[in-house]
């Protein structure tokens, strides 16, 4: 069995005095679709920031396909095939939508820091960018500065940039946040199609998206993993429901959908 796409062993993170991640150990097998759920402020985004190298780990190890990546700068990790999106949309606002997507492609197509290639003439690159633009359904907004897009369109662009680099491990942080039902459905279909054969790790609040897409679900509460397994098992898990609702609500009868 090849090394897991992602292997976390006893990862801890403190911000000043307050511990945020209290020893998380997690394996994501290659090619699997893994969802991380948990109440607001449980440390999901912080975990993504540790894996992607945005924040240094306080203690513990993170491995990508068996190679240690904790401590590497984000661009090194990205070049090894791990790409991530952000919970708070992070795009290039003053560049057009087409250019945003193309920036995501540049490194993987080997252009590196070239100042001798004229991008206008790079037919293969531009066609690939155009295809991606169609995938994320933003063709109509091709030459619009990304800052002018609506919230949901920016989220779609965010996903486009993340998958542009062709990374085999994709981390998506609340990809459907703020989207309407129809927009979310389209995004889910896109994610399914684009990450076929790749390893997907996703933070998501919308339970229908989670149970629709994920084959493994990990529940993170207050910086600790309290359960991990196939969706059906998690849904039935009593501890998860309590932790999730905070105090078991008396009489409101609202459980996990």
């Amino acid at each position: 069995m090849s090394a897991p796409a992602l292997h976390l062993s006893d990862v801890q993170k403190n911000f000043g005095p307050t511990p945020v991640i209290l020893g998380v150990s997690l394996d994501v097998s290659a090619g699997s679709r893994h969802a991380i759920i948990g109440p607001n402020g449980a440390g999901k985004t912080t975990l993504f920031n540790l894996i992607s190298g945005r924040f240094p780990v306080t203690t513990g190890r993170i491995e990508l396909h068996g190679q240690r990546i904790d401590g590497l700068p984000p661009h090194e990790i990205n070049r090894r095939g791990l790409s991530r999106s952000f919970q708070v949309t992070s795009i290039f606002p003053r560049m057009t939508v087409f250019e945003n997507i193309r920036c995501g492609l540049l490194w993987s197509r080997g252009y590196r820091y070239s100042f001798w290639h004229l991008l206008g003439g790079q037919r293969a690159l531009n066609d690939a960018a155009a295809r991606l633009l169609a995938d994320v359904n933003l063709e109509a907004r091709r030459d619009v500065p990304a800052g002018l897009l609506s919230y949901a369109e920016q989220r779609a662009l965010e996903i486009g940039i993340t998958i542009a680099g062709g990374a085999d491990t994709v981390l998506l942080d609340e990809p459907t946040a703020g989207m309407s039902r129809s927009e979310a459905d389209h995004a889910v279909a896109l994610i399914r199609r684009i990450t076929a054969g790749k390893t997907l790790v996703m933070v998501e609040h919308d339970m229908s998206v989670v149970f629709d897409l994920a084959d493994v679900v990990t529940v993170l509460v207050y910086g600790q993993v309290i359960a991990s397994g196939p969706p059906a098992e998690i849904r039935a898990n009593r501890a998860v429901q309590d932790a999730y609702l905070g105090v078991p609500a008396a009489g409101s009868g609202v459980g996990i959908a």
Binding site: S52, R54, P73, P74, H75, N78, R79, S83, R84, F86, S90, I91, F92, P93, R94, M95, T96, F98, E99, R102, C103, G104, L106, W107, S108, Y111, R112, Y113, S114, F115, W116, H117, L118, L119, G120, G121, R123, N126, D143, V144, L148, S150, I161, T162, A164, G165
Partner: protein
């Protein structure tokens, strides 16, 4: 300069090539032809020579265009605010001076036409050394390191003799006798055309640079350096390469400076020159590629014309800066761009009226302000230098009452009228923008 180039590339290149280039880049070609023919308007047929003042101003404009554009490679393209860009210009100039002197001494037959390349490589080399340290940081820390480097090199220039020639600087003689076209480069007009050639080459190169992977990633790092990291680019390396290339073009400007004035002193590396780069680029417009060109032309013209008449250029530059920063942060090019949606919707005519009404009060305030400034300046500095304030042959006594009253009146009346006209313009602008709510803005 949006990505229309992509569409033309898909059609057969040969037939499209020339026409497409012309259609898209006509402003640049028009500017180039203008630069070539303008000295001949000032040609004195009797003596068979061009007016020295005009040629020197035009040469300075050419040099400053390259310098301002190289500065905008950092500020506008990569979002890096540098307070020491003059260092790259000056060092390029010093290198050229030494190389030209060596070439004249017969060490190696370097044609003068290629010396700007030498200056460029000098600038490039120093930019790599200085850039290695400066681009480790960004934003304020970067700005402070460049300020430090600027002051450091300026002090060195004053102190060390061998390379910088100390207070006196390094002089050289451009007539090395080596030239590709057999030109002696004695008369300044020949140097001017060399400058025009190099300016055209540099502008084209920097324009194309904005369409390369590095150029685009520099914009990406400006907008959101964290996202750039997550698409595989090390923002520090992007800043470093961009800084080095910017040093190359600043070096070319430095070389042309040396060829024009045949002397390089510490003020080519000092803070005022860096402030000049900032002034030209910001007033021209940081967000538009051609902005710094407009800024360079305007600032050089203003500077050379005003310094002829008065010695308070600094006040005018300061006021110009403050007005631009408060009312037009996007610079002149930014202002023009703001009118683009209205122009595209064909409603620009509606604004013509308010703009014309604006002209009167602006002139009034301008005259009042200049009068007041000149009165003050002649009150103290003028008397010290024994000059008197003459306005079209009427000598005005700064100590007397009336001139001050006139200045005060002009300013007050002009100010009120201006405020009224501005309000008129604002309402007209509001009405027009309301009408043409472009589809993109409607979410």
């Amino acid at each position: 300069m949006s990505e229309s180039a992509v569409r033309t590339a898909t059609r057969p290149l040969a037939a499209e090539g020339a026409a497409g280039l012309l259609r898209r880049e006509w402003p640049w070609l028009a500017a180039l032809t203008f630069a070539v023919i303008v000295p001949w308007f000032f040609f004195d047929w009797t003596t068979g020579r061009h007016s020295g003042f005009i040629v020197s101003v035009l040469s300075q404009i050419g040099i400053m265009i390259i310098f301002a554009l190289s500065y905008n490679m950092l500020m506008g393209q990569a979002g890096l605010l540098s307070f020491g860009h003059a260092v790259l210009l000056g060092l390029g100039g010093y290198v050229t001076a030494h190389v030209v002197t060596a070439a004249k001494g017969g060490a190696f037959p370097l044609p003068l036409e290629l010396t700007p390349l030498v200056g460029g490589l000098g600038g490039f080399g120093f930019a790599i050394v200085l850039g290695y340290f400066a681009t480790k940081q960004r934003a304020t820390a970067f700005a402070m390191i460049t300020l430090g480097i600027g002051e450091l090199i300026t002090s060195c220039a004053l102190m060390f003799q061998t390379f910088f020639g100390g207070e006196g600087g390094v002089s050289t003689n451009r007539m090395t006798g080596h030239s590709l076209f057999g030109l002696g480069y004695g008369p300044p007009i020949q140097v001017y055309y060399l400058i025009v050639a190099w300016t055209a080459v540099s502008v084209a190169a920097m324009l194309l640079l904005t369409r390369t992977p590095l150029g685009r990633m520099a914009n990406a790092c400006r907008d959101n350096f964290e996202r750039a990291q997550f698409v595989g680019y090390d923002p520090r390396m992007v800043r470093f390469v961009q800084f080095a290339l910017s040093g190359f073009f600043a070096g070319i400007a430095g070389a042309l400076y040396t060829l024009t004035y045949e002397i390089v002193t510490y003020d080519t590396v000092a803070a005022p020159m860096s402030a000049n780069a900032l002034l030209m680029t910001y007033i021209g417009g940081v967000g538009v590629f051609a902005g710094p060109v407009v800024g360079a032309v305007l600032v050089v013209l203003l500077q050379s014309w005003v310094s002829l008449l008065s010695n308070s250029w600094l006040v005018y530059a300061g006021v110009l800066f403050i007005l631009m920063v408060t009312f037009a942060p996007g610079g002149l090019a930014g202002l023009v761009m703001m009118h683009q949606p209205i122009w595209r919707a064909g409603r620009l005519g509606r604004l013509a009226g308010p703009y014309l009404r604006l002209l009167g009060p602006v002139l009034l305030v301008l005259v009042g302000f200049v009068l007041a400034v000149e009165l003050c300046s002649f009150l103290t500095i003028g008397t010290a230098q024994g000059k008197t304030l003459t306005l079209s042959r009427i000598t005005i006594d700064p100590h007397g009452g009336p001139p001050w009253i006139v200045a005060g009146l002009l300013l007050a009346a002009g100010g009120l009228w201006l405020r009224h006209a501005m309000r008129g313009l604002a309402t007209a602008w509001q009405a027009v923008t309301e009408e043409i709510k472009t589809p993109e803005l409607r979410a």
